[in-house]
Protein backbone atom coordinates (compact mmCIF):
# COMPACT_ATOMS: atom_id res chain seq x y z
CA UNK A 1 0.00 0.00 0.00
CA UNK A 2 1.20 3.51 -0.79
CA UNK A 3 2.23 5.77 2.06
CA UNK A 4 -0.37 8.32 3.01
CA UNK A 5 0.54 11.89 2.25
CA UNK A 6 -0.86 14.44 4.66
CA UNK A 7 -1.35 17.76 2.93
CA UNK A 8 -0.76 19.75 6.10
CA UNK A 9 1.94 22.16 4.94
CA UNK A 10 -0.40 25.01 5.85
CA UNK A 11 -0.10 24.03 9.51
CA UNK A 12 3.39 22.58 9.65
CA UNK A 13 5.44 24.94 7.49
CA UNK A 14 3.97 28.31 8.31
CA UNK A 15 4.59 30.31 11.49
CA UNK A 16 1.52 30.90 13.67
CA UNK A 17 0.87 34.42 12.39
CA UNK A 18 0.71 33.25 8.76
CA UNK A 19 -1.50 30.19 9.14
CA UNK A 20 -4.60 32.16 8.22
CA UNK A 21 -3.24 32.83 4.74
CA UNK A 22 -4.32 30.15 2.25
CA UNK A 23 -0.81 29.58 0.96
CA UNK A 24 -0.98 25.84 0.58
CA UNK A 25 -4.62 24.91 0.94
CA UNK A 26 -6.11 27.74 -1.18
CA UNK A 27 -8.85 27.52 1.38
CA UNK A 28 -10.19 29.97 3.92
CA UNK A 29 -11.71 28.25 6.90
CA UNK A 30 -15.42 28.59 7.59
CA UNK A 31 -14.81 30.43 10.85
CA UNK A 32 -12.87 33.15 9.04
CA UNK A 33 -15.58 33.34 6.39
CA UNK A 34 -18.23 33.74 9.09
CA UNK A 35 -16.21 36.34 11.02
CA UNK A 36 -15.60 38.30 7.85
CA UNK A 37 -19.31 38.21 7.06
CA UNK A 38 -20.14 39.62 10.51
CA UNK A 39 -17.43 42.24 10.14
CA UNK A 40 -18.72 43.20 6.70
CA UNK A 41 -22.23 43.73 8.11
CA UNK A 42 -20.85 45.99 10.84
CA UNK A 43 -18.59 47.86 8.46
CA UNK A 44 -20.79 48.28 5.39
CA UNK A 45 -24.27 48.40 6.87
CA UNK A 46 -23.64 50.24 10.14
CA UNK A 47 -20.30 52.01 10.42
CA UNK A 48 -19.94 53.32 6.86
CA UNK A 49 -23.62 54.02 6.46
CA UNK A 50 -24.60 55.93 9.59
CA UNK A 51 -21.41 57.07 11.33
CA UNK A 52 -19.27 57.73 8.28
CA UNK A 53 -21.11 58.31 5.03
CA UNK A 54 -18.97 56.64 2.41
CA UNK A 55 -19.45 57.52 -1.22
CA UNK A 56 -17.72 55.72 -4.09
CA UNK A 57 -17.03 57.54 -7.34
CA UNK A 58 -15.52 56.17 -10.54
CA UNK A 59 -15.43 52.76 -12.21
CA UNK A 60 -17.66 50.23 -10.41
CA UNK A 61 -15.73 47.43 -8.68
CA UNK A 62 -17.96 44.83 -10.35
CA UNK A 63 -16.55 45.76 -13.74
CA UNK A 64 -12.97 45.79 -12.52
CA UNK A 65 -13.37 42.42 -10.79
CA UNK A 66 -14.60 40.81 -13.99
CA UNK A 67 -11.55 41.87 -15.98
CA UNK A 68 -8.83 41.84 -13.28
CA UNK A 69 -8.66 38.73 -11.07
CA UNK A 70 -5.38 39.99 -9.63
CA UNK A 71 -4.89 43.58 -8.66
CA UNK A 72 -2.88 45.77 -6.35
CA UNK A 73 -5.08 48.55 -5.01
CA UNK A 74 -3.08 51.62 -4.05
CA UNK A 75 -4.34 54.65 -2.21
CA UNK A 76 -3.24 57.67 -0.22
CA UNK A 77 -2.75 56.91 3.48
CA UNK A 78 -3.59 59.37 6.22
CA UNK A 79 -5.64 57.42 8.77
CA UNK A 80 -6.54 54.00 10.14
CA UNK A 81 -9.82 54.32 8.26
CA UNK A 82 -8.19 53.91 4.88
CA UNK A 83 -7.92 50.14 4.55
CA UNK A 84 -11.36 49.45 6.01
CA UNK A 85 -13.02 52.15 3.94
CA UNK A 86 -11.60 50.67 0.73
CA UNK A 87 -12.78 47.24 1.91
CA UNK A 88 -16.21 48.64 2.75
CA UNK A 89 -16.57 50.01 -0.76
CA UNK A 90 -15.83 46.63 -2.36
CA UNK A 91 -18.84 44.25 -2.72
CA UNK A 92 -19.07 41.63 0.02
CA UNK A 93 -18.83 38.67 -2.36
CA UNK A 94 -15.29 39.68 -3.37
CA UNK A 95 -14.05 39.95 0.20
CA UNK A 96 -12.60 36.47 0.39
CA UNK A 97 -10.10 37.44 -2.29
CA UNK A 98 -9.28 40.76 -0.64
CA UNK A 99 -6.09 41.11 1.40
CA UNK A 100 -4.55 44.02 3.24
CA UNK A 101 -0.85 44.47 3.83
CA UNK A 102 -0.62 45.48 7.49
CA UNK A 103 2.23 46.28 9.86
CA UNK A 104 3.00 43.18 11.92
CA UNK A 105 4.23 45.19 14.92
CA UNK A 106 0.85 46.96 15.17
CA UNK A 107 -1.86 44.69 13.75
CA UNK A 108 -0.39 41.48 15.19
CA UNK A 109 0.87 42.94 18.46
CA UNK A 110 -1.54 41.17 20.85
CA UNK A 111 -4.04 38.26 20.73
CA UNK A 112 -7.07 40.53 20.26
CA UNK A 113 -5.55 42.54 17.39
CA UNK A 114 -4.19 39.34 15.85
CA UNK A 115 -7.64 37.73 15.90
CA UNK A 116 -9.19 40.82 14.32
CA UNK A 117 -6.45 41.15 11.68
CA UNK A 118 -6.58 37.47 10.75
CA UNK A 119 -10.29 36.83 10.68
CA UNK A 120 -11.84 40.22 9.90
CA UNK A 121 -9.28 42.07 7.80
CA UNK A 122 -7.51 39.18 6.11
CA UNK A 123 -4.30 41.03 6.88
CA UNK A 124 -0.90 39.98 5.61
CA UNK A 125 1.63 40.77 8.33
CA UNK A 126 4.46 42.96 7.08
CA UNK A 127 7.48 43.17 9.32
CA UNK A 128 8.69 46.75 8.92
CA UNK A 129 12.09 45.87 10.39
CA UNK A 130 12.46 42.83 8.16
CA UNK A 131 15.83 42.85 6.43
CA UNK A 132 15.60 39.34 4.96
CA UNK A 133 12.81 40.19 2.55
CA UNK A 134 10.43 37.62 4.05
CA UNK A 135 7.41 39.91 3.74
CA UNK A 136 8.23 40.70 0.11
CA UNK A 137 8.64 37.02 -0.70
CA UNK A 138 5.37 36.21 1.04
CA UNK A 139 3.40 38.76 -0.98
CA UNK A 140 5.12 37.71 -4.20
CA UNK A 141 4.22 34.09 -3.43
CA UNK A 142 0.59 34.98 -2.78
CA UNK A 143 0.31 37.13 -5.89
CA UNK A 144 1.90 34.41 -7.99
CA UNK A 145 0.06 31.39 -6.62
CA UNK A 146 -3.43 32.52 -5.72
CA UNK A 147 -5.83 32.44 -8.68
CA UNK A 148 -7.61 35.60 -7.49
CA UNK A 149 -6.21 38.28 -5.24
CA UNK A 150 -6.87 41.91 -4.61
CA UNK A 151 -4.23 43.41 -2.39
CA UNK A 152 -4.58 46.79 -0.68
CA UNK A 153 -1.24 48.53 -0.25
CA UNK A 154 -0.37 52.05 0.77
CA UNK A 155 2.70 52.98 -1.25
CA UNK A 156 3.64 55.81 1.14
CA UNK A 157 4.49 53.14 3.72
CA UNK A 158 3.03 55.04 6.66
CA UNK A 159 0.25 57.48 7.48
CA UNK A 160 0.80 61.05 6.36
CA UNK A 161 0.91 63.57 9.23
CA UNK A 162 -0.67 66.45 7.34
CA UNK A 163 -2.84 64.50 4.90
CA UNK A 164 -0.65 65.41 1.93
CA UNK A 165 0.51 62.53 -0.26
CA UNK A 166 4.17 61.68 0.27
CA UNK A 167 6.52 60.06 -2.23
CA UNK A 168 5.99 56.34 -2.86
CA UNK A 169 8.23 53.56 -1.56
CA UNK A 170 9.59 51.02 -4.07
CA UNK A 171 7.73 48.00 -2.68
CA UNK A 172 4.59 48.46 -4.73
CA UNK A 173 6.53 48.44 -7.98
CA UNK A 174 8.49 45.37 -6.94
CA UNK A 175 5.27 43.43 -6.30
CA UNK A 176 3.64 44.72 -9.44
CA UNK A 177 6.51 44.21 -11.85
CA UNK A 178 7.68 40.83 -10.59
CA UNK A 179 4.22 39.31 -10.66
CA UNK A 180 2.91 41.35 -13.59
CA UNK A 181 -0.01 42.52 -11.50
CA UNK A 182 -1.67 45.77 -12.57
CA UNK A 183 -2.31 48.61 -10.11
CA UNK A 184 -5.66 50.19 -9.38
CA UNK A 185 -5.48 53.85 -8.43
CA UNK A 186 -7.80 54.96 -5.66
CA UNK A 187 -7.92 58.21 -3.72
CA UNK A 188 -9.62 58.80 -0.38
CA UNK A 189 -10.95 62.30 0.11
CA UNK A 190 -11.65 63.42 3.67
CA UNK A 191 -9.80 60.66 5.54
CA UNK A 192 -7.39 63.04 7.25
CA UNK A 193 -10.23 65.23 8.49
CA UNK A 194 -12.11 62.29 9.98
CA UNK A 195 -9.24 60.52 11.70
CA UNK A 196 -5.91 62.30 11.57
CA UNK A 197 -2.77 60.72 13.00
CA UNK A 198 -2.73 60.97 16.79
CA UNK A 199 -6.51 61.15 17.26
CA UNK A 200 -7.92 58.23 19.31
CA UNK A 201 -11.22 57.66 17.45
CA UNK A 202 -12.63 58.72 14.07
CA UNK A 203 -15.11 61.58 13.80
CA UNK A 204 -18.44 61.14 12.03
CA UNK A 205 -18.63 62.70 8.59
CA UNK A 206 -18.35 62.23 4.88
CA UNK A 207 -15.71 60.21 3.06
CA UNK A 208 -15.32 59.84 -0.68
CA UNK A 209 -13.43 57.04 -2.40
CA UNK A 210 -12.43 57.86 -5.95
CA UNK A 211 -11.74 54.77 -8.05
CA UNK A 212 -9.34 55.57 -10.84
CA UNK A 213 -7.72 53.86 -13.79
CA UNK A 214 -5.92 50.52 -13.79
CA UNK A 215 -2.25 51.16 -14.37
CA UNK A 216 0.07 48.56 -15.91
CA UNK A 217 3.07 47.37 -13.90
CA UNK A 218 5.96 49.83 -14.05
CA UNK A 219 8.77 51.55 -12.16
CA UNK A 220 7.78 53.48 -9.04
CA UNK A 221 8.55 56.91 -10.48
CA UNK A 222 6.28 56.19 -13.40
CA UNK A 223 3.51 54.97 -11.09
CA UNK A 224 3.91 58.02 -8.83
CA UNK A 225 3.80 60.45 -11.75
CA UNK A 226 0.65 58.93 -13.21
CA UNK A 227 -1.01 58.68 -9.80
CA UNK A 228 -0.17 62.31 -9.10
CA UNK A 229 -1.58 63.43 -12.44
CA UNK A 230 -4.81 61.58 -11.76
CA UNK A 231 -5.22 62.76 -8.14
CA UNK A 232 -4.56 66.41 -9.10
CA UNK A 233 -7.64 66.29 -11.32
CA UNK A 234 -9.68 65.49 -8.18
CA UNK A 235 -7.88 67.53 -5.54
CA UNK A 236 -5.26 70.10 -6.58
CA UNK A 237 -4.07 70.40 -2.96
CA UNK A 238 -3.48 66.68 -2.37
CA UNK A 239 0.28 66.96 -2.64
CA UNK A 240 2.68 69.11 -0.61
CA UNK A 241 3.48 72.44 -2.28
CA UNK A 242 6.64 72.09 -4.32
CA UNK A 243 9.49 74.20 -3.02
CA UNK A 244 10.55 76.94 -5.49
CA UNK A 245 13.76 76.10 -7.27
CA UNK A 246 16.75 77.93 -5.79
CA UNK A 247 17.62 81.06 -7.76
CA UNK A 248 20.66 80.94 -10.00
CA UNK A 249 23.49 83.52 -9.79
CA UNK A 250 22.63 84.84 -13.28
CA UNK A 251 19.06 85.62 -12.21
CA UNK A 252 20.43 87.46 -9.16
CA UNK A 253 22.74 89.53 -11.38
CA UNK A 254 19.83 90.46 -13.66
CA UNK A 255 17.78 91.56 -10.65
CA UNK A 256 20.61 93.75 -9.40
CA UNK A 257 21.09 95.29 -12.85
CA UNK A 258 17.37 96.06 -13.07
CA UNK A 259 17.47 97.76 -9.69
Amino acid sequence: MKDWYYENDQWTKLPAYLKHLPLFTRHLDMFSVFMRFLWSIFLKNICFKFYIRLKVKGTPFKEIYRTHPKLIIISNHASHLDAVSIAASIPRRYWLNLYIAAAKDYFFSNPLFTFFSKHCLGAIPIDRKDRKGEAINLILKLLTELPRMWLIIFPEGTRSKDGKIQTFKRGVSIFSERTQTPLLFTYLEGNNELWPKGQPIPLPGKLVLHVGPVHPPGPIQDVYTHYKQWVLTINPNAFPAEEPAPETTEEKKEDLENE
Binding site: W4, Y5, Y6, E7, N8, W11, T12, T25, H27
Partner: protein, 314 residues
Protein backbone atom coordinates in the same frame (compact mmCIF):
# COMPACT_ATOMS: atom_id res chain seq x y z
CA UNK B 1 -22.77 32.59 58.00
CA UNK B 2 -22.93 30.06 55.20
CA UNK B 3 -20.71 31.36 52.43
CA UNK B 4 -22.69 29.52 49.78
CA UNK B 5 -26.09 30.51 51.02
CA UNK B 6 -26.76 33.52 48.85
CA UNK B 7 -29.53 34.35 46.42
CA UNK B 8 -29.39 36.13 43.10
CA UNK B 9 -30.69 39.70 42.97
CA UNK B 10 -32.48 38.77 39.72
CA UNK B 11 -34.63 35.66 39.66
CA UNK B 12 -34.14 33.49 36.60
CA UNK B 13 -37.44 32.06 35.44
CA UNK B 14 -35.94 29.08 33.54
CA UNK B 15 -34.43 26.47 35.86
CA UNK B 16 -30.67 26.47 35.41
CA UNK B 17 -27.80 24.78 37.18
CA UNK B 18 -27.03 28.15 38.75
CA UNK B 19 -30.16 27.76 40.87
CA UNK B 20 -28.49 24.82 42.59
CA UNK B 21 -26.51 25.35 45.75
CA UNK B 22 -24.13 22.49 44.78
CA UNK B 23 -23.37 23.98 41.35
CA UNK B 24 -22.50 27.38 42.77
CA UNK B 25 -20.38 25.77 45.46
CA UNK B 26 -18.48 23.70 42.86
CA UNK B 27 -17.90 26.71 40.63
CA UNK B 28 -16.60 28.72 43.56
CA UNK B 29 -14.26 25.94 44.75
CA UNK B 30 -12.86 25.15 41.30
CA UNK B 31 -12.40 28.79 40.28
CA UNK B 32 -10.78 29.57 43.62
CA UNK B 33 -8.31 26.72 43.12
CA UNK B 34 -7.54 27.87 39.57
CA UNK B 35 -7.06 31.52 40.49
CA UNK B 36 -5.02 30.82 43.65
CA UNK B 37 -2.81 28.38 41.70
CA UNK B 38 -2.46 30.95 38.92
CA UNK B 39 -1.42 33.62 41.41
CA UNK B 40 1.26 31.33 42.88
CA UNK B 41 2.54 30.11 39.49
CA UNK B 42 2.56 33.68 38.15
CA UNK B 43 5.29 34.58 40.66
CA UNK B 44 7.52 31.69 39.53
CA UNK B 45 6.40 31.65 35.88
CA UNK B 46 9.91 32.24 34.51
CA UNK B 47 11.82 30.08 36.99
CA UNK B 48 12.17 26.90 34.91
CA UNK B 49 10.63 24.95 32.01
CA UNK B 50 8.00 23.28 34.20
CA UNK B 51 6.73 26.56 35.59
CA UNK B 52 6.64 28.03 32.08
CA UNK B 53 4.51 25.08 30.94
CA UNK B 54 2.29 25.23 34.02
CA UNK B 55 1.74 28.97 33.58
CA UNK B 56 0.87 28.50 29.90
CA UNK B 57 -1.66 25.85 30.86
CA UNK B 58 -3.27 27.62 33.79
CA UNK B 59 -3.57 31.03 32.15
CA UNK B 60 -5.74 29.51 29.43
CA UNK B 61 -7.95 27.98 32.11
CA UNK B 62 -8.34 31.36 33.78
CA UNK B 63 -10.27 32.33 30.65
CA UNK B 64 -11.76 28.95 29.73
CA UNK B 65 -13.04 27.75 33.13
CA UNK B 66 -15.41 30.68 33.81
CA UNK B 67 -16.73 30.37 30.25
CA UNK B 68 -17.21 26.63 30.70
CA UNK B 69 -19.11 27.02 33.97
CA UNK B 70 -21.17 29.86 32.60
CA UNK B 71 -22.25 27.79 29.58
CA UNK B 72 -22.82 24.57 31.51
CA UNK B 73 -25.01 26.51 33.89
CA UNK B 74 -27.36 27.65 31.13
CA UNK B 75 -30.81 26.07 30.76
CA UNK B 76 -31.19 23.03 28.51
CA UNK B 77 -30.40 22.45 25.63
CA UNK B 78 -27.55 24.97 25.70
CA UNK B 79 -25.01 22.76 27.50
CA UNK B 80 -25.60 20.11 24.82
CA UNK B 81 -25.30 22.73 22.05
CA UNK B 82 -22.06 23.87 23.67
CA UNK B 83 -20.68 20.30 23.72
CA UNK B 84 -21.67 19.83 20.07
CA UNK B 85 -19.81 23.03 19.23
CA UNK B 86 -16.73 21.80 21.08
CA UNK B 87 -16.85 18.50 19.20
CA UNK B 88 -16.98 20.39 15.88
CA UNK B 89 -14.00 22.55 16.86
CA UNK B 90 -12.10 19.40 17.85
CA UNK B 91 -12.92 17.78 14.50
CA UNK B 92 -11.79 20.92 12.71
CA UNK B 93 -8.37 20.76 14.39
CA UNK B 94 -8.13 17.05 13.62
CA UNK B 95 -8.74 17.76 9.93
CA UNK B 96 -6.15 20.54 10.00
CA UNK B 97 -3.59 18.18 11.52
CA UNK B 98 -4.38 15.55 8.91
CA UNK B 99 -4.10 18.07 6.08
CA UNK B 100 -7.62 17.54 4.80
CA UNK B 101 -9.34 20.60 6.19
CA UNK B 102 -9.65 21.93 2.64
CA UNK B 103 -11.50 18.76 1.60
CA UNK B 104 -14.78 20.44 2.41
CA UNK B 105 -17.08 17.55 1.48
CA UNK B 106 -15.60 15.24 4.09
CA UNK B 107 -15.29 17.98 6.70
CA UNK B 108 -18.93 19.03 6.32
CA UNK B 109 -20.13 15.41 6.42
CA UNK B 110 -18.30 14.97 9.72
CA UNK B 111 -19.76 18.22 11.09
CA UNK B 112 -23.26 17.19 10.02
CA UNK B 113 -22.76 13.82 11.71
CA UNK B 114 -21.73 15.53 14.95
CA UNK B 115 -24.83 17.75 14.83
CA UNK B 116 -26.85 14.56 14.25
CA UNK B 117 -25.29 13.08 17.39
CA UNK B 118 -26.28 16.18 19.35
CA UNK B 119 -29.89 15.90 18.14
CA UNK B 120 -29.96 12.13 18.89
CA UNK B 121 -28.65 12.76 22.39
CA UNK B 122 -31.27 15.48 22.95
CA UNK B 123 -34.12 13.15 21.94
CA UNK B 124 -32.62 10.16 23.80
CA UNK B 125 -32.40 8.15 20.58
CA UNK B 126 -29.48 5.90 21.45
CA UNK B 127 -30.27 3.65 18.45
CA UNK B 128 -29.76 6.54 15.99
CA UNK B 129 -26.76 7.76 17.99
CA UNK B 130 -25.01 4.41 17.63
CA UNK B 131 -25.98 4.07 13.97
CA UNK B 132 -24.51 7.49 13.14
CA UNK B 133 -20.94 6.20 12.40
CA UNK B 134 -22.43 3.91 9.73
CA UNK B 135 -24.38 6.81 8.25
CA UNK B 136 -21.27 9.00 8.15
CA UNK B 137 -19.24 6.22 6.52
CA UNK B 138 -22.00 5.59 3.98
CA UNK B 139 -22.28 9.26 3.03
CA UNK B 140 -18.46 9.61 2.90
CA UNK B 141 -18.34 6.76 0.38
CA UNK B 142 -20.52 8.81 -1.96
CA UNK B 143 -18.05 11.70 -2.12
CA UNK B 144 -15.68 10.03 -4.64
CA UNK B 145 -18.69 9.40 -6.87
CA UNK B 146 -19.92 12.98 -6.57
CA UNK B 147 -16.42 14.33 -7.20
CA UNK B 148 -15.75 11.70 -9.89
CA UNK B 149 -12.31 11.13 -8.38
CA UNK B 150 -10.48 8.20 -6.80
CA UNK B 151 -7.19 9.83 -5.79
CA UNK B 152 -6.45 9.43 -2.05
CA UNK B 153 -10.10 8.73 -1.37
CA UNK B 154 -9.38 5.74 0.92
CA UNK B 155 -7.25 8.03 3.04
CA UNK B 156 -9.92 10.74 3.20
CA UNK B 157 -12.74 8.34 4.00
CA UNK B 158 -10.71 6.61 6.71
CA UNK B 159 -9.67 9.85 8.33
CA UNK B 160 -13.20 11.23 8.20
CA UNK B 161 -14.48 8.14 9.98
CA UNK B 162 -11.64 8.33 12.52
CA UNK B 163 -12.38 12.01 13.18
CA UNK B 164 -16.06 11.26 13.59
CA UNK B 165 -15.57 8.26 15.89
CA UNK B 166 -13.06 10.00 18.15
CA UNK B 167 -14.26 13.58 18.22
CA UNK B 168 -17.90 13.02 17.45
CA UNK B 169 -19.24 9.68 18.63
CA UNK B 170 -16.85 9.24 21.58
CA UNK B 171 -16.75 12.83 22.79
CA UNK B 172 -20.49 13.35 22.42
CA UNK B 173 -21.07 10.67 25.04
CA UNK B 174 -20.72 13.65 27.34
CA UNK B 175 -24.04 14.73 25.87
CA UNK B 176 -25.55 11.38 26.86
CA UNK B 177 -24.04 11.73 30.33
CA UNK B 178 -25.79 15.12 30.57
CA UNK B 179 -29.06 13.15 30.52
CA UNK B 180 -28.10 11.22 33.67
CA UNK B 181 -29.47 12.37 37.01
CA UNK B 182 -27.23 15.31 37.97
CA UNK B 183 -25.63 14.83 34.54
CA UNK B 184 -24.26 18.36 34.40
CA UNK B 185 -22.21 17.71 37.54
CA UNK B 186 -20.87 14.45 36.20
CA UNK B 187 -19.68 16.12 32.98
CA UNK B 188 -17.96 18.84 35.02
CA UNK B 189 -16.55 16.13 37.30
CA UNK B 190 -14.98 14.31 34.35
CA UNK B 191 -13.56 17.47 32.76
CA UNK B 192 -11.99 18.59 36.05
CA UNK B 193 -10.55 15.14 36.82
CA UNK B 194 -9.04 14.53 33.38
CA UNK B 195 -7.48 18.00 33.18
CA UNK B 196 -6.15 17.68 36.72
CA UNK B 197 -4.69 14.24 35.95
CA UNK B 198 -2.86 15.49 32.86
CA UNK B 199 -1.43 18.56 34.56
CA UNK B 200 -0.25 16.61 37.59
CA UNK B 201 1.32 13.98 35.31
CA UNK B 202 3.22 16.75 33.54
CA UNK B 203 4.25 18.46 36.78
CA UNK B 204 5.29 15.20 38.51
CA UNK B 205 7.39 14.11 35.54
CA UNK B 206 10.28 16.06 36.98
CA UNK B 207 10.13 14.55 40.46
CA UNK B 208 8.91 10.99 39.83
CA UNK B 209 10.86 9.61 36.91
CA UNK B 210 11.68 5.96 36.44
CA UNK B 211 10.76 3.71 33.58
CA UNK B 212 9.32 5.52 30.57
CA UNK B 213 6.12 3.88 29.49
CA UNK B 214 6.10 4.81 25.80
CA UNK B 215 9.44 6.51 25.05
CA UNK B 216 8.87 6.68 21.29
CA UNK B 217 5.43 8.21 21.59
CA UNK B 218 5.66 10.45 24.65
CA UNK B 219 8.96 10.32 26.55
CA UNK B 220 7.64 12.48 29.40
CA UNK B 221 5.14 9.92 30.62
CA UNK B 222 6.88 7.78 33.23
CA UNK B 223 5.57 5.05 35.53
CA UNK B 224 6.22 7.23 38.57
CA UNK B 225 4.50 10.37 37.28
CA UNK B 226 1.55 8.37 35.93
CA UNK B 227 1.06 6.44 39.19
CA UNK B 228 1.25 9.62 41.30
CA UNK B 229 -1.14 11.48 38.99
CA UNK B 230 -3.63 8.56 39.13
CA UNK B 231 -3.47 8.52 42.95
CA UNK B 232 -3.91 12.30 43.18
CA UNK B 233 -6.82 12.12 40.72
CA UNK B 234 -8.46 9.40 42.83
CA UNK B 235 -8.02 11.61 45.89
CA UNK B 236 -9.67 14.51 44.05
CA UNK B 237 -12.43 12.19 42.81
CA UNK B 238 -13.13 11.17 46.39
CA UNK B 239 -13.10 14.79 47.56
CA UNK B 240 -15.59 15.80 44.89
CA UNK B 241 -17.90 12.81 45.16
CA UNK B 242 -20.76 15.11 46.17
CA UNK B 243 -21.12 15.81 42.44
CA UNK B 244 -22.10 12.20 41.74
CA UNK B 245 -25.68 10.98 42.07
CA UNK B 246 -24.43 8.23 44.38
CA UNK B 247 -21.56 9.04 46.71
CA UNK B 248 -20.69 5.42 47.51
CA UNK B 249 -17.09 4.26 47.10
CA UNK B 250 -17.53 2.18 43.94
CA UNK B 251 -18.84 5.22 42.03
CA UNK B 252 -16.09 7.69 42.77
CA UNK B 253 -13.40 5.00 42.50
CA UNK B 254 -14.70 3.94 39.08
CA UNK B 255 -14.95 7.58 37.98
CA UNK B 256 -11.46 8.43 39.18
CA UNK B 257 -9.93 5.40 37.49
CA UNK B 258 -11.79 5.98 34.22
CA UNK B 259 -10.85 9.67 34.20
CA UNK B 260 -7.17 9.08 34.92
CA UNK B 261 -6.48 5.91 32.92
CA UNK B 262 -8.89 6.64 30.08
CA UNK B 263 -7.50 10.15 29.83
CA UNK B 264 -3.98 8.79 29.74
CA UNK B 265 -4.82 6.44 26.85
CA UNK B 266 -6.72 9.13 24.93
CA UNK B 267 -3.81 11.51 25.22
CA UNK B 268 -1.38 8.87 23.94
CA UNK B 269 -3.61 7.86 21.02
CA UNK B 270 -3.88 11.47 19.86
CA UNK B 271 -0.11 11.86 20.27
CA UNK B 272 0.35 8.87 17.93
CA UNK B 273 -1.88 10.58 15.34
CA UNK B 274 -0.09 13.92 15.71
CA UNK B 275 3.34 12.36 15.44
CA UNK B 276 2.44 10.37 12.36
CA UNK B 277 1.12 13.55 10.73
CA UNK B 278 4.30 15.36 11.78
CA UNK B 279 2.42 18.01 13.63
CA UNK B 280 2.77 19.06 17.24
CA UNK B 281 0.18 21.79 17.55
CA UNK B 282 -2.16 23.85 15.38
CA UNK B 283 -2.32 26.94 17.55
CA UNK B 284 -2.80 27.98 21.14
CA UNK B 285 -5.88 26.95 23.10
CA UNK B 286 -7.16 30.44 23.92
CA UNK B 287 -3.79 31.74 25.14
CA UNK B 288 -2.05 28.76 26.61
CA UNK B 289 -0.30 25.45 26.11
CA UNK B 290 -1.19 23.23 23.17
CA UNK B 291 -4.24 23.52 20.94
CA UNK B 292 -7.88 22.81 21.68
CA UNK B 293 -7.53 19.16 20.74
CA UNK B 294 -4.89 18.76 23.46
CA UNK B 295 -7.58 19.71 25.97
CA UNK B 296 -10.13 17.42 24.40
CA UNK B 297 -8.14 14.33 23.57
CA UNK B 298 -8.35 12.81 27.06
CA UNK B 299 -12.12 12.87 26.97
CA UNK B 300 -12.46 10.82 23.77
CA UNK B 301 -11.82 7.66 25.77
CA UNK B 302 -13.10 8.83 29.12
CA UNK B 303 -16.61 9.83 27.96
CA UNK B 304 -17.74 6.52 26.39
CA UNK B 305 -16.05 4.34 29.03
CA UNK B 306 -17.59 6.37 31.85
CA UNK B 307 -20.99 6.22 30.17
CA UNK B 308 -20.93 2.43 29.85
CA UNK B 309 -19.41 1.90 33.30
CA UNK B 310 -22.23 3.93 34.80
CA UNK B 311 -25.06 2.41 32.74
CA UNK B 312 -23.97 -1.21 32.41
CA UNK B 313 -21.65 -2.05 35.27
CA UNK B 314 -23.02 0.06 38.09
Amino acid sequence: MDLFDFTFPIRISIPTAWESHIYRQTVLIVLSIIFVSAAIIFIFRKKNYYFVQSWASIKSWIVAAPLLFLTMGLPEPWPLVFLTGLAIVGAKIFFQIMGMFHRSYFVLICYAGIIGLGISAWYDRLDIYNAMPMIVLGVSCLVPLVRNSYKRMIQYMSLTLLAFIFLGWSFMHLGLILKFPNGIYQVMYLIILTEFCDNTNLAMGRYFGGWRLFPKINPRRTVGSTAVSVLLTLFLAGSMRFLLPDGSDKYWLASGLVASLGGFVGDLVMTVIRRDAGMKTVGPFIIGRGDFLHRMDRLIFVAPIYYYVMTVLL
